[in-house]
Symmetry: C2
Amino acid sequence: MTTTHLPLIATTCCAPLVKEPLDADAADDHARTLKALADPTRLRLLSIVASSVGAEACVCDLIEPVGLSQPTVSHHLKVLTEAGFLTRTKRGTWAYYALVPGALEEVAAWLSAP
Amino acid sequence: MTTTHLPLIATTCCAPLVKEPLDADAADDHARTLKALADPTRLRLLSIVASSVGAEACVCDLIEPVGLSQPTVSHHLKVLTEAGFLTRTKRGTWAYYALVPGALEEVAAWLSAP
């Protein structure tokens, strides 16, 4: 069993968005994280994984609901995994994707903290 | 004085991202809102406006910090205004942009609410 778990691209180091002017590097990092979310298929995949039992789902159960090919779904899941929102675990034939606890909350806190 | 104030594209009607599978229309709406944020220049502009006195800034003070042309800056500000994150008020020669109270918090709540 192999689990891929990458950290969020934008780290928790940084001041909230509204607190002080962002420098260019921090803006690039945060934009990259938000771009991973800013796609309707990826939002749907995240919501399906997150609302599954144990916040985990087999890739085999993610293809039909979004109505796209397996390679396309796998591409979107890879983007979400690389951005730190999902982990990927191989069990037997299939890959299972799980929501990374706290990852969405980290983005939310950065966006809205005073 | 004219103020442009548009509602967030994605309304507050919807269940949080992680609560249930998103339907295609809701996913489109939320992706559009997140795309408005998912750009380094727009994040920098938002952070400058938000951290200015009264969370408002003249477009004349936004051009130099991001190092882009006025038309480019105005384009990005228009995207943020149309997405509901900023208001635009014309006073004399200049346009002033202000953060919409609660707009970022609305996105954050949708992303992270249990």
